[in-house]
Assembly symmetry: C2
């Protein structure tokens, strides 16, 4: 083996196979978490490019600080401040999408064998990023209000450095953690001296009826909040951010300097100009309305076509519906049938760090239009009841 | 220690201290390798932004393939093909600046204790990126034609996975490897079955009088070529590329997916449009002319002000002059004096993985204008002869 021991000998090709197939425009894809391109603020971005290059080209095209450009960090600090916690720009670092945040955190914290606590199921991209640091994954049980770290054993807690949670419209389940549980977790974290909470929040702004409760990180100093502009502006810009105490941000800065020097200066300044010119709340209102419509369409189709033994949670925001078929079903085994019928989804097994529940799957309702949603769900229902 | 063992306990703050001081516009900085902003093709980039957003916004702002967008990979494959080696786009991966290439290669190849062979001195950013994978660094001796891997011991070769070289206008020395040595190294690599050559080539296009000889990678299959658009278009876009055989590119793709999904789609498409509209050879001709003028100005000042005991190689391209003071001098010890006099440079000790030669330093001639070059060199000469 010429590669490092951290590289899996057999690559996990399920996801790349699915993604390749979904490049075929005739395939109805419920697989990717691709934001609808109709929701991108193209005009505002075009004007922002013009303005940045006419006012500030020499700086916009030059190397810049590893932390990110100061005015964008200021914007984020203001945007993410809450009554409970006012953020300083030095508590904010810009990264190349929140996926990079996961890589930097792995690099900063994890030695092989260190523990990482995750939900069951959890976000596939977090598993992929952190697995390359050869940790041991442990899972935390959940009840209807959310994750229950108080149930973790002392042994697991002593071995673990990071606990990774998505309290808002979790990927893949779509679930929201209750306000009470967030407070309990903040209190729990205050008892820890080895463990940090990584609170990943890509979907919090995408609520349909009411905003989710305040982030845990606004209540806990032992937390690292990950945010992104992928869902509210554009994923193609690859812009996200990390919010943490200054000491951690400073350590992350050293790591990021070695990893890629800094995130695109031009991209950062274009995003900032876009955010300044756009009425963000109006834009977000439109995005929410748009996604709510698609979520409803998918739920209607699910109710119409799926048998009574198929269960899901009605989505209150985000991008995903998590489907549970009757036990004994295997969503990976029938994936090829679905792909042959030109419909794609992600089988549930990819979202587990331990024994997977094979009868689950994730559907994204944001990428394709309502008519295709209907056609696709009808086709899947047939395959699942065959 | 809450952080991973790979994180140095004491951060190396010399460079960040220098960079912070050079943010003061009254400081004459010979420290950074910042391309002159006068050389950025601003109009072409502005038109490219317009075109990308009017023709192709939905794709430009969306997630895209981890490998990079196909037409840019095609462009690079054509641009980097030579009579000796025609490149396929699948041998090209786009990265977020060639600094990221170093991180991805470390992640793919290196376990703690694996050997990495570097020149003496070598590029600081490569040391920083690879050091986080906890390798053992070994150095390769050089003669006037360049590195001599044939002098490495069998023991070092058996332990080592990567040999990192910059054959064109090396950072920090500015030296160019001869054509003969490149062929010898290609032949040498053909005898290796554990070692890969990493040929980093950020400066090859920036020659003053004649183009450097063909890349080693055009002659050797055991090589990985790193390129960048930072010096020919703009560093702020953070765009570089890796050229290697398809098997390695495919493995790097898995790593990059975990690390940041992909490099900015928008940035890639803007760079492609710029490259298509710009006459690149004309643009490069202007950049070369511009840098040649500054190199000459610096050399003239060095000849005028530095004593006869100060040595350097006349730069034939690139961005740097490597200065050697008399033995016993310590360029780190007097750095503060220079900074107090508002002149910055990088002390040589940062470019060594073993015992440094303390009497060396790196000067960049590209960032400041000719008058400041003169003033700055005069001030340094006084400090070095004090």
């Amino acid at each position: 083996m010429i590669y490092s021991a951290r590289i899996p000998e057999v690559e996990n090709s399920i996801l790349s196979d699915i993604l390749k197939i979904t490049e075929d425009p005739s395939v109805i894809s419920f697989a990717g978490g691709l934001p609808a391109s109709e929701s991108f603020p193209v005009d505002a971005i075009a004007k922002a490019c013009e303005r940045v290059l006419s006012d500030n080209a020499a700086a916009a095209l030059q190397y810049s600080a590893t932390m990110g450009v100061a005015p964008l960090r200021e914007w984020i600090a203001a945007y993410r401040s809450t009554p409970a916690r006012t953020l300083h720009p030095d508590e904010v670092m810009i990264v190349s999408g929140s996926q990079q945040a996961l890589d930097l955190l792995g690099k900063l914290f994890l030695d092989p064998g260190d523990g990482v606590i995750v939900e069951r199921p959890t976000y596939l991209g977090a598993i992929e990023a952190l697995a390359l640091y050869q940790p041991n994954f442990y899972t935390v049980d959940s009840d209807v209000e959310g994750a229950r770290p108080d149930l973790l054993t002392v042994d697991v807690l002593q071995k673990s450095k990071l606990m990774y949670l998505q309290p808002n419209f979790q990927n893949p389940t779509g679930l929201v953690m209750s306000a009470k549980r967030r407070e309990e977790i903040a209190s729990f974290m205050a008892t820890q001296d080895n463990l940090y909470l990584v609170e990943d929040d890509p979907y919090g702004e995408l609520w349909f009826h009411e905003a989710p409760p305040a982030n845990i990180s606004s209540l806990s100093e032992r937390s690292i909040l990950l945010g992104t502009f992928s869902k509210v502006l554009s994923p193609g810009l690859r812009l996200g951010y990390i919010i943490a105490d200054k000491k951690i941000i400073r350590a992350l800065e050293q790591v990021k300097q070695a990893v890629d020097l800094h995130t695109s200066t031009f991209g950062q300044l274009v995003a900032l100009e876009t955010l300044k010119s756009l009425s963000l709340q109006t834009h977000l209102g439109e995005v929410r309305e748009f996604y709510r419509g698609r979520a409803q369409a998918m739920e209607e189709s699910l109710r119409q076509y799926m048998g009574p033994n198929v269960r899901w949670n009605s989505p209150q925001g985000g991008m995903f519906i998590w489907l549970t078929l009757p036990e004994g079903r295997d969503t990976y085994a029938v994936l090829q049938k679905a792909l042959d019928a030109k419909v794609a989804y992600v089988p549930g097994l990819l979202f587990y760090t331990d024994t997977p529940e094979q009868h689950t799957l994730r559907l994204s309702f944001v990428t394709v239009g309502e008519e295709k949603i209907r056609t696709g769900i009808q086709a899947l229902a047939q395959i699942f009841t065959d």
